[in-house]
Symmetry: C2
Subunit: 427 residues, 2 copies
């Protein structure tokens, strides 16, 4: 917000009613009718939000943000061909600068489509954190660990993870948190997972892990351990006294759902990525029935291919109706909460709702668009009709985009950097 201590949003639709919202520093101070004489004009940025709706910024709970550079390099392929011939050769060429360029592009795309927080797992976290800091988005970053059951690799991965924790903590940036990112039960040894669990408790940070994405990986875990993945991890206390965000959760047994419920596992549902890679369709209605916290993620742009969380909202409401043949399943309010309130809960952040005392992560959407008219049932429109093209974005009390124009960075420069980084990856 530059030099302002306060920001006043005037005449927006907020929580279903036309009213004003006052931000002090990074927090929502008041929602209601706020008169001009209540504020210090010199210290207050005023945003005229006539004909706009204010919503809490969306929370994307599963991304690999530098992979935004991988958009469209390989579609419509079997998983192993996709990984072996495209993704892994490109990942081998990554460095801090390339990751920085990819993160800038990804963050720009997220901000422009209303996402204010993302939960990421990747490498070169210094490059990611630099971009996050500059563009002004909120993030939870984890270093992705894979030891492939090799002791030497394990030691290295754990050392890297702890160094990254210290590095992020040292930044002391209110918008950048750290988590632990063991890749998955089929790529990480039991020893690694147990050490991760200890480290998560020691630093009091969440664990971000891929779970039950494909039938193949579940088979692998079962062959190795005699148990399904959630049973296996639960057998050595992996879920005890820590906050876990489990991405995908496509194929689940009833016993596993029971464990997830008991251990308060947060699910990051990634419907588009799961469809595109033909992993399957997660049993979301069943998870919701069991009171499990469902959130939404885009996954990386290698398998989506965008970061527009409004698409996840729409598809998560549609998909399960179609597969259960029940049109009342996952209503608009539920899928909108997946992407806001539930995401905040999963990440332990006081945001995801427009309430006094909450973090000022706010998105304004211009209602004068054909697909948002008639201007009734606007929350239905946001779920079933909106294309994600938002107007103004405030994160941690700072205006990072205003009337479609990004504030802290030069858009064209981001595009150029991204193109250059991409050509380094493919050549």
């Amino acid at each position: 917000m530059g030099d302002f201590t306060y920001c006043l949003i005037k005449n927006a639709v907020i929580n279903g009613k036309k009213q004003d919202l006052l931000i002090e520093k990074n927090t929502i101070k008041k929602i209601g009718n706020i008169e001009n004489n209540e504020i210090d004009k010199e210290e207050t940025k005023i945003i005229n939000a006539e004909n706009k709706i204010a919503i809490p910024g969306l929370i994307n709970t599963h991304t690999h943000i530098p992979m935004t550079l991988f958009r469209g390099v390989a579609d419509d392929l079997p998983l192993m061909e996709w990984l072996n011939n495209y993704i892994w050769p490109m990942e081998a060429k990554l460095n801090k600068d390339i990751v920085y360029a990819g993160t800038l592009l990804g963050c720009l795309e997220m901000i422009k489509s209303g996402t204010t927080t993302f939960n990421d797992m990747y490498f070169f976290l210094d490059g990611i954190a630099k971009a996050v800091d500059e563009i002004g988005i909120r993030a939870v970053l984890s270093y992705g660990m894979i030891d492939l059951f090799d002791e030497e690799k394990r030691e290295k991965e754990l050392k890297n993870a702890e160094e990254n924790i210290k590095m992020i903590k040292k930044l002391d940036n209110n918008r950048i948190k750290v988590a632990l990112g063991p890749h998955a039960p089929y790529t990480c040894s039991k020893e690694l997972l147990m050490e991760v669990h200890e480290m998560a408790k020691k630093y009091n940070i969440p664990i971000h892990i891929h779970m039950n994405e494909t039938l193949d990986e579940i088979k692998m875990v079962k062959e190795k351990t005699g148990m399904r993945p959630f049973e296996y991890l639960n057998s050595f206390g992996f879920f005890d006294d820590v906050n876990v965000i489990a991405a995908h959760c496509v194929h689940l047994s009833d016993e596993e759902i029971k464990i997830m419920k008991e251990k308060n596992i947060n699910v990051s549902h990634n419907p588009i990525s799961n469809l595109k890679l033909a992993s399957g369709i997660a049993p979301v209605p069943k998870l919701v029935e069991n009171g499990i916290n469902v959130t939404l993620g885009t996954d990386g742009c290698g398998s989506n291919n965008n970061l527009n969380l409004f698409e996840e909202i729409k598809i998560s409401s549609l998909l399960h109706k179609g597969t259960t043949l029940n049109p009342t399943i996952i209503n608009a309010k539920q899928s909108f909460e997946f992407a806001t309130k539930n995401g905040a809960k999963a990440l332990g952040l006081k945001c995801g709702e427009l309430k006094e005392g909450y973090l000022a992560d706010i998105v304004l959407i211009d209602l004068n668009k054909p697909f948002l008219i008639p201007k009734e049932n606007i929350y239905s429109h946001l779920v079933y009709s909106f294309n994600g093209n938002v107007d103004t974005v405030i994160i941690d009390g700072n205006v990072v985009m205003e009337n479609g124009k990004i504030v802290n960075v030069d858009e064209e420069e981001i595009y150029e950097k991204a193109e250059k980084a991409y050509y380094k990856l493919i050549n």
Copy 2:
């Protein structure tokens, strides 16, 4: 195009290559490198399309366009509750002016999301045609007939249909064609369907009909006739010597698919509407394997809730991967062709491809958007990443939108008209 005979699009990406495109009247005259001295500057509108891609305008093969006013009035409901308590009471209040207002809104939305042609079934075709004429879009209009097996109703419906055919033909508007719209085999008598078949041959116009949308309606037809819907219609020659666009086709037997193949039925696949109303998921991979012409439709905004055909393109490529667990099914090229080339074929129009001699229905998309970068594999981005927000639209050689600004009508006025019409419907 106002006073210009020619329109020259300079430096666009066209068919995968940066080149120019010259339009003469309503037709693509030349694609290639076109020098300024090849054209008559006084007679030519020049569009600088640097950094833009030109694609054929999308073709939406199943809509009920005035229902755009019904957006969001009722979501997440069982079909009969949705129809009885919301849709039918609102439809009872329709008149020409309301239909005109709803059509303007729908056409505006379609143009802004790159659709240049739609195939519609509804009532008050004079109101629809008026809006289509004014805004500049291309349409095939049919009057929706339902006799519910009542002879008196049948005579009335057939009379209405024929009057509408004459009315549309009399307009003599190159952009507005007419078709016959018997609603469905479970709402129309055999006698009506036979007369429709005769009329379609007499006037040489297509038939637009709902087929096999829900399990319930198939059961009804089977109970009444002993046959599944496609078998039943085929039993009295309904598909012979006419061009049929069959909307939905969600539940199909192998025998029905055989009939569809033999009779060259065009399918309008409406994946979003079918998911939202929990009708099911159409067997599109099987239809494609059998060489059946698959096209895309949004259906009406009562069950979608928008007209953004790019969403149908993305979902039609995603959905069938997820349900078959095969990531190579329905690739990007195929789903893009569903919405372009195949749609044109279904409607018998010489468009849907950028080729010399084809109708100049062309959409320009600005590539400087975060979700379209890196700027390689652009066709993948259009299918899997684009949000549908297009830049410039040319229909029948006329520029109807330029740089996001609609040309022939006042946007704000359309919104006002739509809101007023909506309040008439709900009060």
